[in-house]
Each structure stands twice: as structure tokens, then as C-alpha cells.
Symmetry: C2
């Protein structure tokens, strides 16, 4: 079910090739989610000192150069932008492995309640067990 | 004046070190801007086939791995997220050189009217001669 959700997500995002990347060049992902204002301080604190096992699992799932940016778009409306590069060859399997990691599950128990799908993504599948919504890449320059 | 705006921007964004990068590791930038719905198709068309001189000027200004992502946050509300890596040692000078390029100036004449500063950034300085607003990086994993 989760695998199907991924394939649909990737197809919708024009990232089909990325979901079965050959491993030559990394596949870039941009994703977006909102953060609840009342949980913002805790969310930032968690990410300022991320749990080592969570960081290790990212690398084991072939996710690299992963950054999260914060912006207050309107007063009290906080949005997060995530960017990462994936250099594995089975994104769905790598994300399933991440979702199966007990420490990642506990991490998501902390971060999940801080986050909220953006208005247009509510009710739609996000990445993995999260509400992060994949965006369309419209430009790239090396 | 533009140089001062940059320094203020960098200081506000906690990116001071990045503005005078040593050239060892690239400095990451995440930035955000809105795109006007009625100009969205033209904006995407421009970026699907960017002018070669503009792309060359990015590299000459030490900007690499530059991606732009699009999301419809709410119905009819389109936001762009930009990510790039800077490996020069004088960001203000490199951006000034970009802003002085006649082809870049014409490019910005096309893209500028398509874009709109996000609500919280209106009236504040963006990157270079644009309304792109630098975001705060709250997480990074190699």
C-alpha cells in the first residue's frame, strides 16, 4: 500500500525516473510541510541536535545533503522546505526501511505532532509515514 | 547600497559566514518567493528552457546545484522554493556581477513581474535585485 502510494506520488510529481534511479547521479527532492506555531521552538530544538540513529538511518537509506529551511510566510504561518539527494536505486524500499527503524518511529512521534500538511496536500499521501509533500522541480542548473 | 543590503540580509539569516566563504565547503542557500497565478505558465516555460547566458552567469558567480521547486500551497497560491550552493568567497561581489550582466537584467525583466515577495518579506531586501527571500536553515545532514 505504501509502495503504491509512493509510485502515485512520484508519477504525480514527474519524478518517476527518480524512484528507480540507476545510482549514477543523485535524484533531487524538494518537499514542503507546515509547522505548528506552538510547536516551532520544540521542532527547532529537535533538529538542532538530531538523534544520531536518525541521522545514520538517513545515510543508510541513501539520503544525503538533506537540509530543512524555515520561513514565516504570513504572520504565524510557518512553512518548512526540505531538500535532499537520493542516490539509491529503490526509493520505496529505502523509505520502508527507514519507517521500520524503531528510533525513527520514535523521532516521528516527536516531530509528527509539530507538523501539518500544507492546505492543498491534506488528505493526500506524503513521503513515507509523514505529511511531507513532494514538489515539482521546474528548474535546475549544475 | 546593494552590498549593505546583502550584509544585513546575511546577518539576519545567520549566514554571515557564508557571505565570506573560504571556498572549502559550499554554502547552502534556501530561498522563497511567490509566483503570480496568471504568470505561472510563462514562468515555467522560461525556466524549462533557460537562456544559456543566464545559466553561464550563475556558474561564473559561483552558484551551483541550483534547483527551483513549485508548490500550490492553497488554491491559487503558488510558492517557489529555491536551493543553491555557493562556493565563491565574496557573495555580494558575485551577485553584483550577476546583476550587471545585460542578459541577466533582461531575464529579470521577464521573471520579475511573474514573481511577488512572500507576505512577510514585502518591503524587505531580497537576494540581489530580486524579491527572493533567504530562509533560515534549521537542519542539515551530510
Amino acid at each position: 500500500m505504501r509502495r503504491i502510494a509512493f509510485l502515485v506520488l512520484c508519477a504525480l510529481s514527474g519524478l518517476t525516473a527518480g524512484c528507480t534511479a540507476s545510482g549514477r547521479a543523485p535524484v533531487r527532492y524538494g518537499m514542503v510541510i507546515d509547522v505548528r506555531p506552538e510547536q516551532l521552538a520544540y521542532y527547532k530544538q529537535l533538529h538542532a541536535e538530531p538523534w544520531p540513529r536518525v541521522v545514520a538511518q538517513l545515510a543508510e537509506s541513501n539520503i544525503h545533503n538533506y537540509s530543512i529551511y524555515l520561513v514565516e510566510r504570513r504572520q504565524g504561518e510557518f512553512t518548512l522546505f526540505g531538500y535532499f539527494e537520493y542516490d539509491g536505486d529503490d526509493f520505496a524500499a529505502d523509505m520502508a526501511r527507514m519507517a521500520a527503524d524503531p528510533t525513527v518511529q520514535r523521532w516521528w512521534q516527536e516531530t509528527g505532532p509539530c507538523q501539518q500538511a500544507i492546505p492543498m496536500a491534506q488528505g493526500r499521501d506524503g513521503i513515507g509515514a509523514t505529511d511531507w509533500f513532494v514538489m515539482e522541480e521546474i528548474f535546475h542548473a549544475k
